[in-house]
Subunit: 207 residues, 2 copies
Amino acid sequence: MALDVLSREKALDLASSIGGSFDAIKVGYPLILAAGLEVVREISAAAPVIADLKVADIPNTNRLICGQALQAGASGLIAHAFPGRDALEVCQMEAQSFGADLFVVIEMSHPGAGQFMAPLAEEMARLAVEVGASGVVAPATRPERIRTIRSIVGEKVIISPGVGAQGGSAAKALEAGADYLIVGRSVVDARNPAAEVEKTIAAMKGR
Amino acid sequence: MALDVLSREKALDLASSIGGSFDAIKVGYPLILAAGLEVVREISAAAPVIADLKVADIPNTNRLICGQALQAGASGLIAHAFPGRDALEVCQMEAQSFGADLFVVIEMSHPGAGQFMAPLAEEMARLAVEVGASGVVAPATRPERIRTIRSIVGEKVIISPGVGAQGGSAAKALEAGADYLIVGRSVVDARNPAAEVEKTIAAMKGR
């Protein structure tokens, strides 16, 4: 679940009410900036936290960013591949030293991702494998791409955002080879989040 | 000045002691995660703050991240061009609505930046101009590249990191067309930061 909310109270409320239905809770900068990095540890009481920081800086800065997120209790990190091998390697080293997982963004779900990222996705997927990352992030909105990525990353984990508010189909993404789906706004903005979780799980099984 | 420290106390101390010698103070995630986003407002008492968040997410998330940094008092933002036009446009819209400046990363100073980013730098520079950004970020470690970037961005501002600890020459970067230089570790880690500032300014004038 992408815990895409801006208040600590709402985040903790959703984490404790429906967090247990998910394998992990993805937390990004909008919530961390609003609530402080401590919120990661609080949420991790409900489920493992993946810090979706889209880490994309020089190696020294990446090391500091990853280290802080991991010290705050994150079990996983999301980093960009496009700043290159050395930048990604330090993220993996930090993750490894905490026994955490690194997931590498290789494609994204918004239209603009077609401009620079999509043509490099396969090369970035290979880099993710080479640095020893646990997996990659590739959008559910383009299931045909997930199939290609799967052929590159082998047994690595593929996690796929874009289901729900962004229009991706859960069943199609899983069929194409995604291991985990990320649902965000469709659940956290729902009037009845628990009912929306049931609906999403049913859609996944409906493959 | 890149205020690359991890403690609020050290940050505020450096900002008040030497911040006035700089046109702006660049603050990144390592400090913000350690000290909380409020530190941006505190530092802005000494000099305008550029929030170097290397923003690189989908449009909706970029909007939320930029909005929070601007509300916290940032006068400028640094975003990646890599996630494409729509992602960058929302950063510019947010910056504009606060009367702030957007600076777009088009090259970086670490070796890994040669892998995916360098071949796209000119296209990303054109995108920065097209979305109406105030300027671009291009490394002082490759002055010959600054010259090329200048020919693309015209009157836009070029700010250049990589002087000092990363080995870039201040005089050469300015000669190649950089408008502002970013110095970080060489100043903030110095035993006598004020003396190091004087030295850096002398090196700039020595062009």
